[in-house]
Symmetry: C2
DNA sequence: TTTACTATCTATAACCC
DNA sequence: TGGGTTATAGATAGTAA
């Protein structure tokens, strides 16, 4: 007869789907479920070859995005699906492209910063289950950066046309994604963007 | 001693996350998982108050979108987050707004069509768990409409500035969503858009 | 904060209509 | 072919570090 071991936890409990009042558990839940959501999205893409994108703005207004084959591709597709090709004199598409490229550069800048601290090789190490076709997707987590900062950052980015200096006061943590996205999950403190140009 | 009952099924089996080869099961999987994904997204929004959007293009290139508080809001936010406010002379925002509004109108047109067949009251009947705050989200499923058709539709929509006549040959099925999105899930046959204006 | 650990709940693969 | 059922795989609430 085995020794009765006390349960270590009640395990998952059923919850009602309504706004969580407790702020800290709300944040924990956001973190966990956001990851789960991105994971689901990625699985959907892999299993069915579908193109998809997910955007999430945390309660603290941080922006997260996931996309396959890339956020840019999906959003472009969405936008162009709603815009007759070659129409609209000064089509917004070109403008978007600039914006999106700036964003990508920002992401890359973040990634580079991360490397300095923790050796991110995310894009590579995610090859676990056969995701090796092309550049697979683009999971971009821009934690600890408010929209205003992102806005300012990109605005400057556009002006600088690819040459930025970013001062980072604090970077949270590097790729801790389960396996298959480029999950920078890095934080750029709002005040971190202090002076560029 | 209970009579031993033969298992009725093996139940869920473990699968490898890689492209499903069988076309029909791929489609079934897309349908199921897309619903699950939207559900997850909706739960995330409710639980944490986060704003989020999900876009998915099925293998057959049909477009689906979900968003809280609305697809428009989230995509606008995403775009404006990357565009300095009041900058960019002829900002693309206005253009987008037009596009997005057209899209919404399209959705509403679809919804109206659905009503004629099946009494969609989706937005209302989803109140099950306390989702009653405001107009909650915008889950838009544009099945059976290729991107090209959507493109053409919206282009015309823009020109018509709100006055469209759509000929619909076939509408698949109406709101079959679990509970809480406006899931039109309606099909507008590609050839259904025959002549408008 | 973010991560780890379970026990449990939930999503869903395989079936069946 | 979409919808329903069963049983298991996978996600995650509660908790602690």
């Amino acid at each position: 007869m085995a020794t009765k071991v006390k349960k270590q936890s009640l395990g998952r409990q059923k919850i009602e789907i309504k706004k969580i009042e407790n702020k800290s558990s709300l944040e924990v839940t956001f973190t966990k479920r956001r990851k789960g959501l991105f994971n689901k999205a990625s699985e959907l893409c892999v299993l069915t070859g579908a193109e998809a994108a997910v955007f999430a703005f945390s309660p603290g207004k941080k922006a997260f995005a996931f996309g396959y084959p890339s956020v840019d591709t999906v959003i472009d597709r969405y936008l162009s699906a709603n815009t007759e090709e070659g129409r609209s004199v000064n089509t917004s598409a070109s403008h978007h492209r600039v914006v999106l490229e700036s964003r990508k550069q920002y992401a890359e800048a973040l990634a580079k910063k991360e490397e300095e601290k923790k050796r991110v090789e995310t894009m590579k190490e995610g090859g676990e289950v056969g995701f090796g076709r092309d550049r697979f997707w683009w999971d971009l987590s821009i934690e600890d950066m408010g929209l205003e900062e992102l806005e300012r950052y990109v605005a400057s980015m556009e002006e600088l046309k690819k040459n930025v200096g970013i001062r980072v006061d604090e970077l949270e943590k590097a790729s801790n994604s389960p396996s298959r996205f480029l999950d920078l999950d890095s934080g750029l403190n709002a005040k971190g963007i202090d002076r560029y140009i």
